[in-house]
């Protein structure tokens, strides 16, 4: 089971970079080696922001799993980020995805 995340950011700002770094750190803690992060710069791909109805940046969208989960913000609180993205607690390999 791999986790796929798409991070929508607006340009190369401090906030964009913080969000990507924080997400990477969270994934390394909770699902090491089992994640992919794709960064979308909405100023280059406004069409994707449109299709996905993204309003705020940064926005993380957990891909491929229903229900889709979204978290907006710079993800400065890793525990809340992990919970909001439905990542398994450390030591519980499947988390909420045990039934998949």
């Amino acid at each position: 089971m791999r986790y796929k995340f798409r991070v929508y950011v607006a340009g190369h700002t401090e906030r964009s970079e913080a969000a990507v770094a924080n997400l990477t750190a969270v994934c390394e803690t909770y699902v090491p080696g089992r994640y992919e992060i794709e960064v979308i710069d909405v100023s280059e791909r406004p069409d994707l922001a449109e299709t996905e109805s993204i309003v705020a940046t940064p926005t993380v969208v957990r891909q491929g799993v229903i229900p889709q989960r979204r978290v907006i913000g710079d993800l400065s609180d890793s525990a809340r980020t992990a919970a909001a993205l439905g990542l398994p607690a450390v030591g519980e390999p499947y988390g909420e995805l045990w039934w998949t």
Partner: protein
């Protein structure tokens, strides 16, 4: 005269009267906040700003909505006569619908901004080459911001981004109360350089809509609240007031009042663009004078617009026929238009719009309003004066010879003390009619205290009314002292009659 530079800096909204209040339009390339309580007309003003931009200035527009309001707005625009569906097909108008109910299922961790929204707006602006943009409304957008401290920062960021896109924008924002001076988030007015406030208040039991330019940074504008109205078919109209440019030139042509002796008293008739007020109690002959005025115009082939308050059409026709004025026959020639209505039938602003439309469509040479004073029943003093200012401006613009009547004797009764802002400064000719009982009969008298730009007769002259109308005694006889009232009743006495 506005310099070319100043003209470049403004983007006319195309909304009737609003650009005059703003002295040209919105500051170009900047964002203007349009704030008001719910139902104050923010969205209508915003959609008309875009619609006129396309229809009259060839400037494409983008309407950003967070409230799934596109179908409602389309319907409103269609009713206003704008081909919104065609514009959307041609890519000249685009809705950017941004549902914000997503936030229910979205968690917030840390700081964020509206960068994605800005990127989406920019994409649409580039695709449509939009010059005008509306965001409706900030309240719906910022409802998603859990921390209100960031509203200020985000607002500035969005406004700056819009400025870089080169669009002239309107953002709407809710207010809780009409006069507390604060928007929903308390910061909008301080952050944005340009602020319009729309109000919708009850004033002496009449609903009153006003618009005020609270600030235009570095750009001149008129101050104060200006009345406006919203009509489903005509849209928003701000009452064009005294500052509206009146015709540069004044007419020197003279036309008849319909009473030869009265023409003499006025120094040879009325100027073609004169506005005359006939004041006198009920039964003093005001309406009859108006019929003379219409009949003479009709005989010389002029077009006449007759507006009456307080009389049914049938009664107006009958009364006129009594003086040999055949209104139906005059209407058949297309030379006369009669509108018989009642003050209570419409609001003051709607009355004005109806009159304005009649004047602009029918293009009368002569205009009669009988009696103006009936409007005192439906309007606070200042509003009634506003209407007269606006109406006389339209009449002057079209050089319509006008006769207004009033059954209120005292100058202050309808419009407050005569003064620079009073009624007397708006009219050119003041005709006073009066009667009193003398020796078992009524003696009628007429006087003309004011004829602007012309020599005139200062005598108080007796007149009689017989089956052929008004006849003024022209001999150099003023009313003999013994028979004269102690004072001319218009100056001092209480109203002695009148149907208001």
């Amino acid at each position: 005269m506005i310099s070319a530079q100043a003209q470049l800096d403004r983007t006319p909204t195309g909304i009737s009267g609003l650009d005059e209040v703003m002295m040209g339009g919105l500051p170009s390339g900047r964002t203007t906040l349009v704030t008001g309580t719910s139902g104050s007309g923010k969205t209508v003003v915003a959609m008309e700003f875009l619609a006129h931009g396309i229809a009259e200035f060839g400037e494409p527009g983008v309407f950003v909505t967070f409230e799934e309001s596109a179908p409602v707005i389309r319907a409103c625009l269609l009713e206003l006569g704008f081909p919104i569906e065609e514009w959307e097909r041609e890519g000249r108008w685009e809705f950017l619908e941004v549902p914000t109910d997503l936030t229910d299922s979205v968690e917030v961790v840390g700081r964020y901004d509206f960068g994605a929204l800005v990127a989406r707006i920019q994409r649409v602006v580039e695709r449509t080459h939009a010059k005008r943009l509306v965001i409706d409304s900030l309240g719906a957008l910022f409802a998603t911001l859990p921390d209100k401290r960031y509203v200020r920062v985000e607002l500035v960021r969005i406004a700056q981004a819009l400025a870089r896109m080169g669009v002239t924008a309107m953002m709407t924002s809710e207010r809780r109360e009409e006069y507390d001076g604060i928007s929903l988030h308390g910061v909008e007015e301080f952050v944005l350089d340009n602020v319009l406030v729309l109000r919708n208040v009850l004033d002496e039991e009449r609903r009153r809509r006003t618009v005020e330019v609270v600030k235009f940074r570095g750009a001149p504008h008129h101050t104060g609240e200006w009345l406006f109205t919203i009509d489903p078919r005509r849209g928003v109209t701000v009452l064009p007031l005294a500052f509206m440019s009146s015709r540069g030139q004044a007419s020197t042509e003279r036309v008849s009042t319909g009473v030869a002796e009265l023409d003499d008293m006025c120094g040879g008739g009325l100027f073609r663009d004169a506005i005359a007020l006939v004041r006198g109690p009920a039964g003093s002959g005001k309406t009859l004078l108006a019929f003379h005025f219409l009949a003479t115009a009709f005989r010389t082939g002029e077009r006449c617009l007759l507006v009456t308050f307080d009389e049914s059409r049938a009664r107006v026709v009958r009364d006129a026929a009594g003086w040999g004025v055949d209104i139906p026959a005059m209407e058949r020639t297309g030379q006369l238009r009669l509108r018989a209505t009642y003050p209570e039938a419409e609001s003051l602003e709607e009355h004005f719009l109806t009159l304005k439309r009649d004047i602009e469509e029918f293009r009368p040479d002569r205009f009669v309003l009988d009696p103006l004073s009936a409007l005192a029943r439906i309007a606070p003093r200042q509003s009634a004066l506003d209407l007269v200012v606006a109406l006389t401006t339209v009449l002057r613009e079209h050089a319509v010879t006008s006769l207004l009547t009033s059954s209120l004797l005292r100058p202050g009764a309808l419009f407050g003390a005569a003064g620079p802002s009073g009624l007397s400064s708006l009219i050119d000719v003041l005709i006073l009619l009066h009667y009193r009982e003398w020796d078992g009969r009524l003696e009628r008298s007429i006087a003309i205290p004011q004829v602007r730009g012309s020599d005139h007769d200062l005598a108080v002259r007796p007149f009689v009314i017989d089956s052929s109308g008004i006849h003024i005694e022209t001999a150099e006889r003023v009313i003999p002292d013994a028979r004269a009232p102690a004072a001319w009743p218009f100056e001092a006495g209480e109203p002695q009659g009148g149907n208001v």
